[in-house]
Symmetry: D2
Subunit: 69 residues, 4 copies
């Protein structure tokens, strides 16, 4: 039981440090004039298949036009 | 104490029902051939100022080109 | 499409208002001297079967003793 | 820009692997007969000050009695 708990706590600690590292990179990016929200969006897009990205962008355009946006 | 708890529970119950209603609408939309993920994206965009949407789309394009996407 | 989006937006608006009502009740409870975190815990417990609550409390005690807490 | 994105992606990848490791430990714990939900509760308690834990447990008891639970 103790071993289970301590291993989980150590891993969660490492995850927290990595989350801090990510936060630092975004703080640095913001200071350099980048838009962090847009960078996050770009990272999300990079995880998708190019064909899927294109399909969703086309659909979004279609739906926007359908409601006159 | 009892009054506080019961009021919160009732409100949380109503929120859950509304969440169910939203889910039903999306199920219905999917059956009608719509892409639910794209509709969610559209709803998100509608909450933003048009100028902010345009700015973010321009930035996303710029960043994509910067990394050759 | 417009109808789907507007219905979802209206439901999400209502959900947001209910979330605001819950927040108000907790603010009021805090002013009256109650511990909001503990009230939330109590609401969580009330959703569980009494037998399940008792079983989890017994297990928690056992695990705590096992690691000398 | 590319450097920012690649560093974030690498860190997020490491975080995901650690989350997978945590999940594996809990799967293993479950196979060994432990209640994962209770272990998570125990880990949460271990992060708190003992005096805070005791205070919250006393309050929870008081509130439960107040509503006849």
């Amino acid at each position: 039981m103790r071993s289970i708990i301590e291993r989980v706590e150590r891993l969660e600690e490492e995850r927290k440090e990595l989350a801090g590292d990510v936060k630092d990179i975004f703080t640095e990016a913001k200071s350099a004039g980048f838009d962090v929200k847009v960078i996050r969006q770009l990272i999300k897009i990079r995880k998708m298949e190019p064909s899927e990205v294109e399909e969703q962008e086309t659909l979004l355009d279609t739906y926007r036009r359908a409601i006159g946006m």
